[in-house]
């Protein structure tokens, strides 16, 4: 091995490096653990990366790039694909001209998520091919394979990774040279890309034809491999589970699947025939085992208790031993909490004191559910606070309805709270509603990414800024208040009381930069001012 390009990379970094080396022209996404670092790293490597307001927009932008013949990368966490699923399903029909790789970073065990959905189901539902790397080397190599497949079959490829692939660092041998992005050029293809029913019907047939061809190709694809071993135990596995399997059962014969939709059923059947016992080891849903059994191939799956949470070496050992005894409980660690000087503390104290019914949202402030506040009553998905709050207001008796408040962060508001605000204007509850936007000028929970409300791009350069109060006023909200919550003044308390008692629609923007990066944000703002001044000066000069 050439020592000079032996790198220790996270799966996220490896994906970014491969994207750069393969000449990906545009990367777009929305921050979400464990996917966030892909685009950040791609940008650091000189790639064109940008945060979109949400995953749906990111996917649409990258579909456009791929229609234009470019190689494009779209990244998101698993729940982000729910948001982006609408364009995904139809992009499978239209196909692409360049390459489109959609990274879904799943979070089995929910290290930092609201559910542990298994997005391998999306590959089947949308009808797109899926690759699953097991470590950073494969994340790197499979990206090239995914791009080749995407261009060969003119179809988006789902690149499915999990927390332990994204955030584990393993050794990567990279390729020597990198390709420059190819020049993009538009070629009209009305029947191929305009999905009116008359054109979509043949498009669906084309998609099924492509999938049949890919399945045939997958039977001999180098993306799946067999690790030789004894014939008494065979294991079929994919992704990170492969690593746990190799450690737990080094004597077993292993079929390691890298290209996991559409599955190479002939190869699987042949493998199963060659071993006395065949167990499917997979994290999360029984995706592989159900598909293999549905094809009439007899395999063992895991007991249902191992469907929950991540797999690891001890759990794989238990599965192989058919051990159904209760697992040892992990000793509790210290839970995270709102930072001591966080402005949100004041808001949650106030909500608690006024006995509000709080429809919450996704971000740092979800920690307001924990002690000492316990001041959040629901958290469903990005943007849900607004709609859930409105629904409660509509049905609850007036004494309860008047206490309902929706609480959302700035980045989450831009992501999918704006449509909720439109709903609030369009279908106002009888006693009005109060929406609090906690604006700390960053996407804090995922590690301080920019968003359209900060007026800075992914790499912190000044750009157009969505002004939240201006947006709310333009929608017709009369009571729009911007306040910096201060300890001890009671000002926020009074404002909240006023808004609750007004029976009108109110938007309170509680604004103070996140204390963890306040200094950095100030520097960005100063740069922005200098930049604005320079622009003004040059405008005057001309």
């Amino acid at each position: 091995m050439n020592e000079s390009n032996r790198l220790l990379l996270s799966g996220d970094e490896a994906i970014a490096l491969a994207a750069r080396h393969a000449g990906v022209a545009l990367g777009a996404g929305y921050p979400g653990t464990p996917s966030t670092e892909i685009l950040e790293h791609f940008s650091e490597l000189g790639g064109h990366a940008q945060w979109s307001p949400n995953e749906k927009v990111a996917l649409e932008v990258t579909i456009g790039a791929a229609f234009g013949g470019a190689r494009a990368l779209c990244t998101m966490k698993h729940v982000g694909l729910n948001v982006a699923s609408d364009p995904l399903f139809t992009a499978a029909y239209t196909g692409v001209t360049g390459a489109l790789i959609v990274v879904s970073a799943d979070d089995p065990g929910m290290a930092s998520s609201q559910n542990e959905q298994d997005n391998r189901r999306y590959a089947v539902a949308a009808g797109v091919p899926m690759l699953e790397p097991s470590d950073s080397q494969e994340a790197y190599d499979f990206m090239f394979a995914a791009i080749e497949m995407s261009e060969r079959w003119k179809i988006p490829v789902l690149f499915r990774v999990t927390t332990r692939v994204c955030h584990s660092y393993t050794v990567v041998q990279s390729r020597a040279s990198s390709e420059a992005p190819r020049p993009a050029s538009f070629e009209r293809d009305i029947r191929g890309r305009v999905m009116i029913p008359a054109y979509a019907r043949p498009a669906h047939r084309r998609l099924r034809q492509k999938l049949a061809e890919m399945q045939e190709w997958n039977e001999t694809s180098p993306l799946n491999r067999i690790v030789e071993g004894g014939a008494s135990l065979g294991i079929i596995t994919s992704g990170i589970s492969f690593m746990h399997v190799r450690e737990t059962a080094p004597e077993a014969r292993v079929l390691k699947l890298g290209f996991t939709h559409p599955l190479p059923m002939k190869k699987i059947a042949q493998f199963v025939k060659g071993v006395a016992r065949c167990v499917v080891i997979e994290e999360g849903d029984p995706y592989l085992v159900d598909a293999i059994r549905a094809a009439g191939i007899p395999v063992e799956g895991k007991p249902d208790m191992y469907r929950f949470g991540e797999l690891d070496v001890p759990r794989v050992r238990r599965i192989l031993n058919n051990d159904l005894s209760p697992e040892p409980a992990k000793p509790p660690g210290k839970p995270p909490q709102l930072c001591d000087a966080c402005q949100y503390r004041i808001v949650f104290e106030s909500l608690r004191k006024q006995d509000c019914i709080v429809a919450g949202d996704i971000g740092c402030y979800t920690l307001g559910v924990l002690q000492p506040f316990e001041a959040i009553d629901s958290c469903v998905c990005m943007g849900a606070s607004v709609g859930v709050g409105l629904g409660l207001r509509h049905v609850l008796p007036p004494d309860q309805a008047r206490r309902v408040v929706s609480v959302i962060g700035d980045s989450t508001f831009v992501h999918s709270g704006i449509s909720g605000l439109v709903e609030m204007v369009y279908n106002p509850p009888p006693n009005g509603h109060v929406l609090i936007i906690l604006d700390n000028s960053t996407t804090a929970m995922t590690g301080h990414q920019e968003h359209p409300g900060t007026g800075r791009t992914l790499d912190h350069e000044p750009t157009g800024k969505v002004v939240l109060e201006g947006l709310a006023r333009s929608l017709g909200i009369r009571r729009v208040h911007v306040i910096e919550p201060q300890v001890g003044t009671g000002e926020f308390d009074r404002l909240l009381t006023d808004c609750l008692e007004s029976n009108e629609l109110s938007v309170i923007i509680a604004r103070r930069p996140c204390i963890l990066i306040a200094k950095q944000l100030k520097q960005y703002e100063e740069q922005r001012c200098e930049c604005d001044a320079a622009t003004a000066a040059s405008a005057q000069a001309t």
């Binding site: 020592e3 032996r6 220790l8 653990t33 464990p34 290290a111 930092s112 470590d135 927390t163 332990r164 955030h167 584990s168 660092y169 393993t170 050794v171 990170i240 690593m243 746990h244 190799r246 450690e247 690891d312 070496v313 001890p314 040892p328 000793p331 509790p332 660690g333 210290k334 839970p335 995270p336 909490q337 709102l338 930072c339 740092c364 920690l367 929970m445 995922t446 590690g447």
Partner: protein, 161 residues
């Protein structure tokens, strides 16, 4: 094939657990081993428990140290010893902040590196390799303090043996 060495580093968000595992993984890479490092980010940023696993040897498969198989457990925060003790194998080495005297550290933020110094006395990598890893892991202004902290930890184990 070299046996795999398993190390778990534990502490609270903001203590430099992940920085510590970065440096540890880097030095194993420099020494030519196969190495894997695993960490859970996300909620850990807000002061919650953080652990990072580093495994190195001839060939490493799973990036996660199995419970009860850690050869070394480094704990930066005393309250995290009990929650993590189950990770240690019988006869494994526990390294806690007691390994170094706090007044010898250039800064309390260098505790993570000081405990790496203590760990280093048990591992086969050369001191020069550790220093290369430290140098690449820190900005120039922080390197000297961390070098000192590392040596404080390294010496502590040699004298206690």
């Amino acid at each position: 094939m070299t046996k795999v060495t398993n190390i778990v580093v534990a502490g609270l968000g903001g203590q430099g657990v992940l920085k510590g595992t970065d440096i540890l993984a880097e030095v194993a890479l420099l020494a030519g081993y196969d190495v894997k490092k695993s960490e859970i980010k996300g909620m850990s940023q807000r002061g919650g428990s953080v652990t990072g696993d580093v495994r190195f040897g001839g060939q490493v498969f799973s990036p996660m140290v199995p419970s009860g198989e850690a050869d070394f457990l480094l704990v930066l925060e005393p309250t995290q010893v009990e929650p993590q003790r189950h990770m240690l194998r019988p006869g494994g080495v526990l390294i806690t902040p007691d390994a170094v005297s706090a007044d010898q550290l250039p800064h309390k933020k260098t505790l993570n590196v000081a405990l790496l110094g203590a760990l280093s006395a048990h591992l086969p990598m050369a001191e020069e390799q550790w220093l290369v890893s430290l140098r690449s892991g820190f900005a120039e202004t922080f390197f000297e303090g961390n070098r000192k902290a590392f040596l404080v930890g390294r010496v502590s184990q040699k004298t206690s043996k």
